[in-house]
Subunit: 184 residues, 2 copies
């Protein structure tokens, strides 16, 4: 039956945009072993069974030494025939994180540079990947006009058949919609 | 090197919430072969190399006979140890679609029932999966107060190294942020 799922088709990568809301600075890295040096957000592939936000926090810590916590989901990229995915597709998810520490201690194996950079500067520089520039603009919009403009909130729900839980991400609902009677 | 991606970890499923903006009705189905009959949005697994919105449109057509077009991405669910995913994780994405036809001709192999239902009714009924109720509330919020409150827009960008393209989904940026000079 061709309708049966035979195997997983996507790898999932997660990047963490760690934004210090007190001064508008965001944590960026440059990878080693790239011909063109470009700023990007730290991140990497999800481990099996790992939630999106946990991947972001773990990868940021491993690459930069910065402790952080998940705030929201900002963006998703889907790319097919991704060169790093062995013919599979790649789902790349960008989260907004809040820093819990500030002293950078970056991993020399992965990173060439790591800095706290002003959002406005990151949005303007040519030395950033296209997706990083886009997300810098999105973050700037949120930083200036309220993060409620850009955030997808996460909520955890029980999966009835398995006893397990899942996470659902979408725009935050106003209270009047949250409290509809069927959701009690 | 344990940092290398060895295989894909996620299957990707997509559901289409086909909403008729002229009357607030949304297309819902009930699966065959379920012990509990519950309304849900039509959908299914992505084919290899298929974009999210294309999966939604294709699955809606196959299950219900309704032609539609992609409008936005609304929500993402991540679930591990999904019973239908052979130990892999499941990424389930819900899109908002606009109907291009209205006469239902549903697939009896997959569906028991298929109807256009008022959003308010779907949000209230106990006969819907939890995620369907949540998304019905989200759609109701968008229908009443503007879809810009709930939508993630899609844009296509070139992947520099491969000559291929990818799709990026995030909240729509106001023009002033869209037109920043580095994005020309």
């Amino acid at each position: 039956n061709s309708r049966l799922p035979m195997y997983a088709t996507h790898q999932v990568g997660v990047a963490g945009a760690v934004l210090d809301e007190t001064n508008g600075q965001v944590l960026v890295v440059q990878d080693r072993n790239k011909t063109q040096n470009a700023w990007k957000f730290p991140g990497g592939l999800s481990d099996p069974g790992e939630d999106i936000g946990d991947t972001a926090v773990r990868e940021v810590l491993e690459e930069t030494g910065i402790h952080s916590e998940f705030k929201s989901l900002l963006s998703i990229r889907q790319q097919h025939n991704h060169p790093g995915a062995f013919g599979n597709s790649d789902m790349y998810i960008i989260c907004r994180l809040k820093p819990l520490s500030f002293n950078i201690s970056f991993c020399n194996q992965e990173c060439l540079k790591c800095e706290w950079m002003d959002l406005g500067e990151l949005a303007k520089t040519k030395e950033a990947t296209l997706i990083t520039s886009r997300i810098a603009n999105l973050l700037l919009y949120g930083y200036r006009e309220g993060f409620d403009k850009i955030d997808l909130a996460a909520r955890t729900f029980p999966a009835v058949y398995s006893g397990l839980f899942y996470k659902l991400y979408h725009r935050k609902l106003p209270e009047t919609y949250e409290n509809m009677p069927n959701l009690e």
